[in-house]
Symmetry: C2
């Protein structure tokens, strides 16, 4: 077995072009045979927002550009395709030489977007644009799912730190890494994921597990041992047996630590009636003069539970959010699509029942209102003059003729952009429950073009 | 940027030991400092089945063993940990040399399992067993999630082929690969994922996309072009504009193909009122004497919709299932945990409210009834004599002293095991809706040990 097979795993760079659906390759084979080399524009967007969601946070662009830049079929990939017996030598020769030579316009990572707004448009010879579809979607989709979910816990926590620690139940290895990145991007303060620390520079943090406590004959011995080793960085998990008894023992250990000039940083609660327990635990520490011992809470949390705990006045200083964030439990996927809108100068669309798409290369203009708040978006044709010069065009050129135009922004800058964007949302759109729909308008020219193409399809397709 | 950064990506083998939560390393640091080198047994199990589910299909073991065998901290990993400033030189020296030297007992991949049954037990020096927790869980969790979801579409399809094609919206790169593997393992016939073809030997299949159809000025030209290129392998997507008009055009092209000795393989419907449309499309082809043109259906399917379509008598020959399978939309995570059950000869457990765990190293015995059907399982202590010699012990030794005992079974064998296991389930447990709970019993000796340890904890912890 390949020694890299565990984690770098089956998806090694050398064969990345095979990270695709077979039909992308069969369609490309037909385009090549038909001599269809014209430019195609594909638009990547989310058709509908999940129930209960009012906005998304775009993510994944950095990986998309890295993929497109390196896109090529390895010798092993070509051998495998040849072995399938359905591709002829001229097409295999085409695949051997093909690179992504197209243009990409995209919204920056960390941008707030809404349904039917393109996150990204690819313009390239149609076979190239088709061959990269699957990977482009995969890379944008999951990261947008997680960033859009994570920002909600950050909002619910009202300024309190949120720690991402879902690695163990993240959906796969890559997801575990991307979840740490996207949670941080969306405002989480740290992650438990150590490799994400090395890879992305996200500060790794952690407490202790129940296994640690139960490995000692008595709970208090585990607390003492951890304190001995980690001093003032210590956070003790106090719910392994009985939370209140655990809190009293933690207070005892905190006093012992104080006697040697150390300070217990905090305790973690992971089960039980958290509002009641957190108040009682707070009282125990305050009574012992340990007002600066923080209470950290975890255990199946997401934005709804964080919100409810704070509504109930639970004296919680920080939250650990894991599985439900990393799988986006309430909305584990988005209705994200990559649709052809123009081929060889001809505008196209599909009119499948319930899935009609907008035609045309687009631009999204964001208009601001009082207090510089977002007021509404206008989806227009990409080359359409827009009256208000103050409207911000969200899609920017990021790749031209296969070349990345500038290095990706640092993750800290993406995180800052996300925070600024979310802060600029109208309060009624940003709220976690019963949020208002943000106004997304479509330009008259786009509307007219859409009707003309629909009519043309009805008559001629 | 590392040229491997797109896909082999951040999770390269050299740093795989850092694919962990920070607390695993801090706890290990404390164990090392305290001289706690005793053997620990951790048990990996699912606490509760998701709502509406009656059984799980275990998957992920092959990757777990590959991870454990290769487990080590690279120089880069050690440098990074040193840079965090919280680990001392003796512990960093420990990490430099540490390997996984423990034993693993596990149920084979493809085994049907239930709540509270260990899928896997790890026995190793406690720091080693702790350091591998996160990766072991990540590798087992997602694959068990997908295999357990995918088998339901296979059951709903009642023998009709199920094609996995969720790669584009699978939660990340690794998930896209694992989803193809686990769907196949659970009985899907093929996958659209070409790299899964190369990696796992799963036959890749595909049809065409709406973009292909709309790239041509007229739908029928797209059908002709695809037929020209792929002959009798052709499946035409007929819902880009109007499904019934598309079916008539497909029948016309099928007749043209027949005239040159080729046979249209099938058509795909991806939207609209599928029961009504599929019947009308079937009638169109049958009337044209094209009875062997297959109808392939896709579009947001899962087991519930497949079941409903077939209940309504829709004449569908094969199903394409994507996103909802790959993210396990109704149950995107399992309440899977890795819990310490024994340390240095002492039985342990936690009694956290609502999360009490069973103590002790275990074995799961499966008893069969009439027709060799599964009758009930008995969870017992691992060394407990069980009266019925015919009861199958599910956990088998797979690693001893860090050495894998035998090569992993071929994927085809795992798939066969899964099919045999599912077929042996009582019908009332296997059914998709309103399934009965399978009887899982706990041995008297396990129960007595549990009560004794709980009592001990109450008195002494």
């Amino acid at each position: 077995m390949d020694p890299g097979a565990f984690v770098s795993g089956p998806v090694a760079l050398r064969d990345a072009a095979l990270f695709t659906d077979l039909y992308e390759i069969t369609m490309a084979a037909s385009y090549v045979r038909e001599g269809m080399t014209g430019a195609a524009t594909f638009s990547l967007f989310v058709r509908r927002l999940p129930l209960g969601r009012s906005f998304l946070v775009a993510a994944g662009l950095e990986d998309v550009l890295a993929f497109l830049r390196e896109f090529r079929f390895s010798a092993a990939a070509l051998d495998y395709l040849r072995s399938l017996g359905c591709f002829d030598p001229p097409f295999l020769a085409y695949l051997r030489d093909v690179r992504f030579t197209g243009d990409v316009r995209a919204v920056p990572e960390g941008t707030v977007v809404f349904a039917e707004e393109p996150l990204l448009e690819v313009t390239a010879p149609i076979a190239e644009a088709q061959l990269v579809e699957t990977a482009v979607l995969n890379l944008c989709h999951f990261q947008t799912v997680v960033a859009s979910k994570a920002v909600r816990s950050v909002l619910a926590a009202r300024g309190r730190p949120v720690v991402e620690f879902g690695l163990r139940r993240a959906p796969g290895l890559d997801a575990g890494m991307k979840a740490a990145r996207c949670a941080f991007l969306a405002g989480a303060t740290t992650s438990s994921n150590v490799l994400a620390g090395l890879t992305y520079g996200i500060p790794p943090t952690g407490t202790m597990a129940h296994s640690y406590v139960s490995a000692f004959p008595h709970e208090i011995e585990s607390f003492r041992a951890f304190g001995r080793r980690f001093g003032s960085g210590t956070i003790l998990l106090i719910d392994t047996y009985d939370t209140i008894a655990g809190a009293r023992r933690a207070a005892e250990v905190a006093a012992e630590m104080a006697a040697r000039g150390e300070r217990l940083a905090g305790v973690r609660l992971d089960s039980g009636d958290i509002p009641a327990l957190s108040k009682e635990v707070r009282r125990i520490f305050d009574t012992a003069g340990l007002r600066d011992v923080k209470i950290f809470v975890s255990g199946g949390l997401d934005e709804d539970q964080i919100d409810r705990l704070l509504e109930q006045g639970a004296p919680i200083d920080a939250f650990g959010v894991g599985t439900r964030m990393d799988v986006s439990a309430d909305a584990p996927y988005l209705d994200m699509a990559y649709k052809l809108v123009k081929y060889a100068g001809r505008h196209v669309l599909k009119t499948s029942e319930g899935k009609t798409t907008w035609t045309g290369e687009k631009q999204v203009y964001r208009f601001r209102g009082p207090g510089h708040r977002f007021a509404y978006d206008l989806v227009a044709l990409h080359d359409e003059p827009v009256a208000d010069a103050a409207a911000e065009p969200l899609l920017r050129p990021v790749m031209r003729s296969g070349r990345v135009l500038e290095p990706p922004p640092p993750l800290a800058a993406v995180r800052e952009r996300c925070a600024t964007q979310v802060a600029a949302l109208p309060e009624e759109v940003r709220r976690l429950k019963g949020a208002a729909a943000y106004p997304v308008r479509f330009s008259d020219r786009l509307g007219a073009l859409q009707r003309a193409v629909e009519e043309d399809v009805r008559r001629n397709a």
